[in-house]
Amino acid sequence: MRSKAEDSRRLAAFFQGEIARLATRPVRLMEVCGTHTVAIFKAGIRQLLPEAVELVSGPGCPVCVTPNGYLDTAVAYSRRGDVIIATFGDMLRVPGSSSSLAAEQARGADIRIVYSPLDSLAIAAAAPAKKVIFLAVGFETTAPTAAATVLAAEQAGLENFYVLSAHKLVPPALRALLTAGGARVDGFLLPGHVSAIIGEAPYRFLAEEFAVPGVIAGFEPLDVLQAVYLLVKQIAAGEATLANQYRRVVPPDGNPAARAVLDKVYEEADAAWRGIGVIPASGLAVRDAYRRFDAPAALPVEAEETRDHPGCRCGGVLRGEVRPAECPLFGKACTPERPVGSCMVSVEGTCAAWYKYGAGRWQA
């Protein structure tokens, strides 16, 4: 019996060899999940690939693609004395037009970090005189958890819980990128946990309409290597199909129960993406039946006029057109300690990942 580690090494060597053999021309593969971006760095996948295979990050970090206007609105809410903001931790330091939630917190705003959206219900129950607003950010993986929380709030009869929704949908963003063409993508490494919810069907257009292959991929080093192998193999053969490398977690139809919960509370709506602009039907808005939980509808607030930092190239980075090191502020005026743009804030942001794991290679 060989050991598991030995098996993994053998398989990795096999994929590595096949990728090198098959990559006879330069290919650009885009990963559209911040969790993949980090996994690729941590496992040192780039070092295992031949020069012909380039991995670029796409608009896969929900915090990064959230435009300044949303943050400005969240900041405006946080300044109200009757509001408690509940948020995932990585939103805290994202710079808005002139402030951030972290800065507001330092000035006394009541901002609570939650691990689960459900935690905000406990906060709301304990502070009936306050209005608790959950910053509902995230892709299809996260959006059902916010929807379920709205249903739970309704069931519990909570009258002081709201969501500020900036949920985004991955497939429409891929379509927008391919239509614009600037990223020159030869294949997609598709996000495993988004797919666990939506399944395979929403990606079929990649191959059918754009002749671009896609592989739904897991997050272990071997998963990523295998997915790259499956992409390179298709490209070498001149084929384009959708493959599912992550079957152990992604059934073809995803999670219909989660989608039903999502669909009860939210409906598709146009949404603004940082760096890409408004993409039709790429976001989620609270349905009319749940309007009393929708912060902008139930508690209108005025935000400052939105400005983007003039030097930040985060938009181009999110489209896969600009490498972080090509931004003049990267590693100088902009670091994870003092981020100028959202791509440097979240650990999953492309700029932050290159800064943290790039081991100085970006300095070359």
Partner: protein, 73 residues
């Protein structure tokens, strides 16, 4: 942000469950995965079980890969 961790359901109470992740137990909501049972491995994201981990599929994939790598030697 889409990070999700595998956990084993060790107890279920209506729409909540107790799961174990490397020796630590915590409570998660089953609202998004109502059919999962005690003993199942599930993926947990933001306090919710969001999908079942198919152990059998995981084993099959590995076997197939093994075979593939073996043939090429």
């Amino acid at each position: 942000m889409c990070l999700a961790v595998p956990a084993k359901i060790i107890d279920r109470q209506d729409m909540m469950a107790t799961v174990e992740v490397s020796g630590v137990t915590r409570r998660v909501s089953m609202m998004l995965l109502p059919d999962a049972k005690v003993g199942d491995y599930v993926l947990v994201h933001a306090g919710f079980a969001i999908q079942t981990v198919d152990e059998e599929e995981a084993r099959r994939t590995l076997e197939l890969l093994e075979e593939l790598a073996g043939h090429e030697e």
